[in-house]
């Protein structure tokens, strides 16, 4: 196994996210999340061939160019084995059928609460987002949730979220036990700077590894609360040459993943329009 050298941060994030997938997991992926999509495809193609991939309501889309599968809501038809009815999807969630979900909250706080609803005051917010969809449910019912944050800064990592769209580890990590909730809630946070976890008694966010080229100080400076720093902070394991080749040549040759990265924001609409125009419904 040889590590790659010329990878970019989105590729490093995909690989780190992919490592969170265990063989046999049923992983749910929401719409407009190519980083998560690429991570799941990569895991299925490498260490987790028995993982099941639910893309929106489509079951196990073929491992192929994700822009073809995900560019439009209905593009996955023809790439999947079949489609769950939405009622069956609701049932699956409620009976704890989902093992893992990736979420990209607008704000994440010290205890892993996620905000995808609004910034500021709830009756007259300064920004109202599109909403958390299943966030509140999946944080209770999916066994594990992994957050990802392509733009690690003090606006995303805040002491206390402005609105709890979905709960992390309330009551210093005690409330799940109190309410007899068996899921683990958020287990990891993967940002463009570091990998973090909640592996301490109070379930507070803690640094696990820093990405190559990033300093601990940089992570601390860009986090809006006191992040727990263990004595030893290793570097995040880089992508292998095999993983990088799969991402670039098989899973995402059109760089669809980049739409989730901050500096590509301005081009998203243009890029998508291009992709959507090229895409033909089968």
């Amino acid at each position: 196994m040889e590590y790659a050298e010329d990878y970019t941060v989105d590729e490093l994030m995909i690989v780190a996210m992919s490592r969170e997938i265990r063989d046999g997991d049923l992983v749910f992926q929401g719409i407009t999340t190519p980083l998560a999509g690429a991570a799941i495809m990569l895991a299925r193609e490498t260490h987790a061939p028995n993982a099941n991939h639910l893309y929106f309501l489509g079951v196990n889309p073929a491992i192929q160019d994700i822009s073809q599968v995900m560019v439009k809501t209905e593009s996955f038809l023809g790439t999947v084995f079949g489609v769950l009815s939405i009622s069956e999807f609701w049932n699956l969630q409620q009976r704890n059928g989902i093992d893992l979900m990736f979420l990209r909250p607008a704000q994440i706080d010290r205890l892993g609460n996620a905000n995808m609803s609004l910034i500021g005051n709830r009756t007259k917010p300064t920004i109202r987002f599109s909403g958390g969809v299943g966030t509140a449910d999946l944080l209770v019912l999916a066994n594990r949730v992994v957050y990802y944050a392509p733009h690690h800064d003090t606006r995303v990592f805040v002491e206390k979220v402005d609105y709890i769209t979905g709960a992390g580890h309330l009551e210093n990590g005690q409330w799940r036990k109190r309410l007899n909730i068996h899921s683990q809630g958020p287990t990891k946070v993967i940002s463009n700077l570091a990998v973090m976890n909640f592996k301490n008694r109070d379930k507070q966010l803690q640094l696990e590894s820093i990405h190559p080229g990033v300093s601990v100080e940089e992570v601390v400076k860009n986090t809006g609360f006191k992040l727990i720093i263990p004595d030893k902070v290793p570097e995040t394991e880089p992508p292998t040459k095999e993983q990088l080749k799969l991402i670039r040549e098989k899973i995402d040759p059109k760089n669809f993943r980049k739409i989730e990265m901050p500096k590509y924001k301005e081009n998203i609409v243009e890029k998508l329009t291009q992709l959507q125009k090229k895409h033909k419904v089968k």
Binding site: T32, F56, L84, I86, S87, S130, D137, I259
Partner: protein
């Protein structure tokens, strides 16, 4: 059986001001957009609008001043960005906003479908969402497990857009197993009045011939309206694709209240009806 075929304008008049109204479709497909333009043109006011996964349907109604509350789990323009009329109205505090978690919305809908006052739910705990929606807790009489009790929706009317129907209100889908068809049928079975807009009207004989495509029956549908391309600019798989160019125009227009009024003028108020709208957008 009663003939329920009517003109778009007549069906729109079945919706009273201040009704609670559910909209079918999901993300950028099968939105009853022709009907929504009809509601706006008719100047409907103070609607309580429900849409599971909303985008242009609710955003357009908000921008046109037709709603007093929105009820959704997602209200955004997907990859195109935030829904801008919604965002403006929310940030000025102009409308009541009820963001639901998916299982909250689903439980409220299914309770209504089942004729139950509420359904217990295991999701949503700890979130401000269930707090703001005022869901109360109950304990399971068998295990003492704490559950949320989600009250049933009380929907006056709903509108779904599907492939075809006969004049009696037997409605068929292109692909009955398609993932979100059962959101539309649940919505219909949870509402007191059901309006189905369809791409085309077919004969009862045709319905019988394709009986495996029937998703709603005459006894549960109150009005049928023929509006070809009635989901435009959203998609109707596999008949037509979403109109990306028009959606971009919508995004640009909704960036500002003044340009949005111009958009409404051009595409809703000026055209004499659905047919003229289709000519304007090059779909006729």
């Amino acid at each position: 059986m009663k003939d329920k075929l009517m003109k778009l304008e007549e069906a729109v008049e079945l919706v009273e001001d201040a009704s609670s109204i559910g909209f079918g479709g999901f993300m950028f497909f099968r939105r009853p957009m022709a009907f929504i333009r009809g509601l706006i043109k008719a100047g409907k006011k103070n609607l309580d609008a429900y849409s599971l996964n909303a985008n242009m349907d609710l955003d357009m109604l908000i921008g046109a001043g037709c709603v007093q509350s929105v009820n959704y789990t997602y209200l955004g323009m997907g990859q195109l960005g935030l829904a801008l009329n919604f965002r403006r109205a929310a940030e000025k505090g102009l409308i009541k906003i009820n963001e639901y978690d998916v299982l909250g919305f689903a439980s409220a809908l299914r309770a209504a479908v089942m004729g139950l006052p509420f359904l217990p739910m295991r999701g949503g705990f700890g979130s401000d969402i269930v707090k703001d929606l005022g869901f109360k807790t109950i304990s399971c009489p068998y295990t003492d497990q704490e559950l949320l009790a989600v009250p049933a929706f009380d929907l006056d009317v709903c509108v779904v857009h599907q492939l075809q129907a006969d004049c009696y209100g037997n409605v068929q889908a292109y692909l009955p197993t398609e993932s979100t068809i059962d959101y539309d049928t649940s919505l219909a079975r949870a509402s007191k009045l059901v309006i189905a807009t369809v791409e085309r009207i077919v004969s009862p004989e045709d319905i019988r011939k394709n009986f495996d495509k029937t998703i709603l029956f005459s006894y549960e549908v109150d009005a049928v309206v023929e509006v070809p391309q009635g989901a435009h600019p959203t998609a109707f798989y596999p008949l037509y694709d979403q109109d990306v160019g028009h959606l971009m125009e919508y995004m640009r227009a909704s960036n500002d209240p003044k340009t949005f009024q111009e958009y409404l003028e051009k595409y809703v108020y000026q055209p004499s009806g659905h047919e003229e709208y289709l000519k304007m957008v090059g779909r006729c």
